[in-house]
């Protein structure tokens, strides 16, 4: 495993282009585009203000930089560095901005969710979508970019509008059977739209592309409900994480529940492997050494850690949530399927130090990673069944079915990994610190092993 040197960044704005060739980072008001293979700066753009949001267009030709405070958007072209585009939302304000899937339109959500403005870079045309709903996830594009679903609120009722992205033609508009719609998400094949209600009610609705209600699912009543929803990449499963600390898996044929994953504080499942991170403080060096090492003191301060496999039963530390505060820290808030839909990773908010990995073939618990600190972020390798996670310290953790490793990031100056993202090839990881970033390259050999291993498994 190799690490690059540290680069500056701000607001954790660092993204690899969809084709995987370029790396764009924002440093204050500057946008830096590097070549991924050489890490040399290809372009340097200067924005009007500090960038608060940055996004690649789907064809990796344009970069959108949003400055929400000023209600401004600037678009840069990689092919024509001279080309520029500036969109000013004016006094109406700006809270969110994104590319349309075709990379020629920009969707801006104004303040107070007054409307969504669609700007065309082809024709300079502008169109409005009224009554967008301010919620957890109000806009979603289908995977192939053909359709967009927009949650709306009119006359105290929830509606969903489906647009054809090609020409923003309104295809369908239907009322949903929700009290207070909280989010919507297309299935990866783009045929089913999952809509879920706010946390006050456990309700998940499944709509077909043409607006037909396919199914309704509700696990229980009179208690806080859905916290997060995630489709498996194969569109086969819909995982629903809820406030009752459980994950429910719906199937795509009957839309009924086929499995339920619980997150107990005491694990006595003998089939699951429990990896517990154990920290070892290095022995106190002698004075001589201390003086010698004063420069590299930061690395010395870092404790080493390793994983130990624990035999059940194991107690996972649980933080009891404050019942008087809104949005209690309890329940499953993050769900992520591996790229091959084989594994599901989940995190229960009142057990923030643990990541749970579930086997979707056996429908059982595969592994539990108990960290010493709360898990900040985890992401699956887009190619292999490999999970990377970070806990806000100087270490990177990787899980694969073969085992678990903890890697110290050999960076100076107390680099702490706040979040991470995989390169689309799965060859390297981008580790983001507070105002720095670092690339972590996976060993080709290891990767090869991984592939071999996978092939073996496939043969099985």
């Amino acid at each position: 495993m190799n690490f690059s040197e540290l680069f500056k960044q701000s607001n954790q704005l660092c993204k690899v282009s969809p084709d995987g060739k370029y790396l764009a980072t924002c440093v204050q008001y500057r946008l830096v585009v590097r070549d991924v293979s050489t890490l040399q700066i290809l372009h340097l753009y200067t924005c009007l203000d500090q960038v608060s949001h940055m996004e690649w267009s789907s064809d990796s030709l344009f970069i959108l930089c949003a400055m929400y405070k000023r209600g401004l958007i600037q678009v840069w072209s990689l092919e024509q560095p001279d080309w520029h585009c500036k969109i000013d939302e004016g006094s109406i304000g700006l809270v969110s901005s994104r590319w349309s899937p075709d990379g020629r339109h920009i969707l801006n959500t104004t303040e107070f969710h007054l409307r969504v403005t669609v700007w065309s870079l082809c024709t300079k045309a502008v169109s409005y979508m009224k009554y967008p709903k301010a919620c957890q996830k109000g806009i979603d594009f289908s995977k192939d970019g053909g359709y967009m679903a927009l949650a709306e609120r009119r006359d105290c009722k929830d509606y969903v509008s489906i647009f054809v992205c090609e020409d923003w033609h309104l295809l369908r508009n239907f009322e949903t059977e929700t009290q207070d719609l909280s989010g919507l998400e297309w299935s990866p094949n783009g045929c089913v739209l999952a809509v879920w209600d706010s946390c006050l009610e456990y309700k998940v609705l499944l709509y077909s592309l043409d607006g037909r209600l396919l199914s309704t699912y509700s696990a229980y009543e009179w208690s806080l409900g859905v916290k997060c929803v995630s489709w498996s990449p194969s569109s086969q499963f819909l995982a629903i994480g809820s406030y009752d600390e459980k994950v429910r898996i719906l199937n795509h044929i009957t839309w009924g529940k086929i499995a339920q994953f619980e997150h107990p504080a005491s694990i006595d499942n003998t089939k699951a492997t429990v990896y517990k991170e154990v920290e070892r403080r290095p022995a106190v060096p002698s004075d001589e050494l201390l003086q010698h090492n004063i420069k590299v003191g930061s690395t010395l301060l870092n404790t080493k850690s390793k994983y130990e496999i624990c035999a059940p039963p194991i107690q996972i530390p649980v933080v009891k949530p404050d019942p008087d505060r809104a949005n209690p820290k309890i329940g499953v808030s993050v769900l992520a399927f591996s790229s091959d839909s084989r594994y599901l990773a989940s995190r229960n908010d009142n057990m923030a130090t643990a990541v749970w990995v579930w086997d979707m073939q056996k429908m059982s618990l595969e592994a539990v990673l108990e960290q010493t600190a709360a898990v900040r972020c985890f992401q699956w390798d887009p190619r292999h069944p490999r999970l990377a996670l970070c806990t806000g310290n100087s270490k990177l953790y990787l899980w694969s079915p073969r085992g678990c490793v903890s890697v110290q990031v050999p960076a100076e100056g107390g680099f702490q990994v706040q979040s991470l993202s995989w390169h689309c090839s799965g060859d390297f990881l981008i580790l983001l610190g507070k105002d720095q970033l670092c690339l972590c390259y996976m060993d080709a050999e290891q990767e090869e092993n991984g592939r071999l291993w996978r092939r073996k498994k496939d043969r099985k």
Partner: protein, 592 residues
């Protein structure tokens, strides 16, 4: 009190009855047998004046009175005086009358007794009844009290219930009130929320209107030059045709998806069908060969079934490709059938297995016997092997000894063997020594005893001589003088009797114990004044003691203790007659 009185009553009656038996016999007429205290008391009083009834003077009056009384009792006998003076009575009628009276009396007594018994019975039953009555009364009282208590508790409970019901009603009302409050609040809040939302929406509308009206100069897009579409096509006009095409595309997309999913489902179905078919085939394969073997009687049935199976199988095979419900039904039906059969078969097998197990359990010793034999055979073989091994080792050892080591080591080895032998010999020698010592001790004891016997015999001889001398002297005219000396002789004899008794004791004890008893002569009271039988016994024993002494010396070297006693006895018997004269003398002595 009442009960006590009644209890006492028969007692009183009895005592009276016994006392007055005689009086009543004589005064039957005066006291008819009635069981009343009053009359008894009366009869008692008449008893005291019995002497005054008939006197010399009033015999005729008495006769008359008695006759009257008898007549009143219905007795026809008339007592008459044989003489006019009335001094003598005609005996026959009197006796008859007396007999009659006695008969009457006896009968009365009988009835009296019966009645008494009845009375007793009745009184006891009465007692019983009274007791039960009182007990029942107590019970009644208790139950009444209980009942009242229960009534009281019931009343209290009812009261409590009433209060609780009132409370419940109150609570229910409260709950209803609260629920209604909650509902009203909820509706109010939702209403408020809706109102607020509407207001917000209105405000938003107004805001957007205002923004549009203001013609915000800033709201603009500034692009260097327009971009081409990502797909390279030109944008199209919005027409109905376009919308229709969108619809069409959407449905196409959906259709594609459904087709895909259907395809995958069909594939899955086919796979499953294949599996089913295979399962069925395998089932049939499993089932068919064991059918004829397992059953004989129901073979026809089986055959019919298998035919049916064949049919269904064929049909299912034909219709496998027809993806219609009929085929599916048939397939599932046949599978179900097969499954049932398989299940039955498995159950049967299970039963058989259990039976076999049972059988195995029943003749458990049979199979273990075989294994046992096998085991034995194996072990024997092993033992044989071991033996051979040992033998070989011994041979090797010997060879080694004979070849590599010469006589010295052989001698050494021999010495080793002889050492052990020597040790054993020593041990035996020691034992022998001990035995010898024991023998010596015994011999000494014997000689000592013999010596003592000799001395005693000598003393006895001397005594006898003295006694003879005395006797002889008594026959002489100086009797008086010799009397005292004879008494002396008697005393000496009595003294001598001591060892004699000791001898007898010895003779008894020798049967069980060793000769150590010889050493402690006992002076008992009986020896001080020996009875004739003792003397008799001792005198008989004395001569044989002397002879035994001789014999002892003969057998001392060879015989054991037990044998000795027997010999002593036999010897004493043998010498019995020789002492007869002594015995006679002894008897004479005791007589004098």
């Amino acid at each position: 009190w009442e009960r006590g009185g009644r209890l006492r009553h028969p007692w009183v009656f009895f005592s009276n009855g016994e006392n007055n038996e005689i009086s009543r016999m004589s005064h039957v007429m005066m006291s008819p047998s009635r069981q009343s205290n009053l009359e008894l008391a009366y009869s008692l009083s008449t008893y005291s004046v019995i002497g005054a009834f008939c006197t010399e003077d009033n015999v005729p009056q008495c006769l008359l009175h008695i006759n009257q009384e008898l007549a009143s009792l219905g007795l026809p006998v008339c007592i008459e005086a044989s003489s006019p003076e009335g001094a003598n009575l005609n005996a026959v009628p009197v006796l008859n009358a007396v007999y009659e009276l006695l008969q009457i009396h006896r009968r009365d007594m009988c009835t009296l007794e019966e009645m008494e018994k009845e009375q007793m019975k009745k009184s006891s039953s009465l007692d019983l009844i009274q007791m039960t009555n009182s007990r029942l009364k107590d019970q009644l009282e208790l139950s009444i009290r209980e009942k009242s208590g229960l009534y009281e508790t019931e009343r209290q409970l009812q009261l409590k219930l009433k209060t609780l019901q009132r409370c419940l009603k109150g609570e229910k009302d409260e709950v209803q009130k609260l629920q209604s409050i909650i509902a009203s609040r909820a509706s109010q809040y939702s209403h408020d929320a809706k109102r607020k939302e509407r207001e917000a929406a209105k405000l938003k509308e107004r805001l957007s209107q205002l923004l549009i009206d203001r013609k915000d100069k800033k709201l603009a897009i500034d692009v260097l030059n327009n971009l081409g579409r990502s797909d390279g096509k030109r944008s199209q006009w919005r027409t109905t045709k376009a919308t229709a095409s969108h619809e069409g595309e959407m449905y196409k997309f959906l259709l594609c998806d459904y087709e895909e999913s259907q395809k995958s489902l069909v594939l899955e179905n086919a796979e499953l069908k294949k599996v089913l078919q295979q399962m069925k085939k395998e089932m049939m394969h499993i089932l068919s060969p064991c059918q004829p073997s397992s059953r004989g009687a129901t073979a026809d049935e089986e055959l019919a079934e298998s035919d049916e199976d064949e049919k269904t199988r064929d049909s299912s095979r034909d219709t496998l490709d027809q993806s219609c419900e009929h085929a599916r039904e048939q397939l599932t039906n046949s599978i179900r059938l097969q499954w049932r059969k398989l299940r039955n078969h498995v159950e049967k097998l299970d039963n058989q297995a259990s039976q076999v197990l049972h059988q195995m359990e029943s003749n458990k010793d049979m199979i273990p016997f075989e294994t046992h034999q096998d085991e034995m055979e194996r072990m024997r073989h092993e033992v044989q092997q071991c033996k051979e091994f040992i033998h070989a080792q011994q041979q090797l050892l010997q060879q080694q000894l004979s070849t590599s080591f010469d006589d010295e080591t052989a001698a050494l080895l021999y010495d080793c063997y002889t050492l052990e032998e020597k040790e054993r010999l020593k041990e035996e020698w020691r034992l022998f020594e001990e035995q010898k010592r024991n023998f010596e001790k015994e011999r000494r004891n014997f000689t000592e005893a013999a010596i003592r016997l000799g001395r005693e015999k000598q003393a006895f001889e001397e005594d006898r001589a003295a006694w003879f001398k005395n006797h002889f002297l008594n026959m002489t005219p100086f009797t008086n003088r010799r009397r005292c000396s004879s008494s002396d002789g008697q005393s000496s004899l009595s003294i001598i009797s001591e060892p004699e008794i000791r001898m007898s004791v010895k003779a008894h004890k020798a049967k069980a114990s060793t000769y150590t008893t010889f050493s402690t002569p006992k002076s008992s009271r009986s020896t001080a004044a020996p009875s004739t039988t003792d003397l008799y016994r001792t005198l008989r024993l004395i001569p044989d003691c002397s002879s035994s002494m001789h014999s002892n010396q003969v057998w001392q070297e060879s015989s054991t203790n037990g044998d000795e006693d027997i010999r002593i006895k036999s010897k004493s018997r043998g010498l019995h007659c020789s002492d007869l004269d002594i015995f006679a003398l002894g008897e004479d002595d005791s007589l004098t």
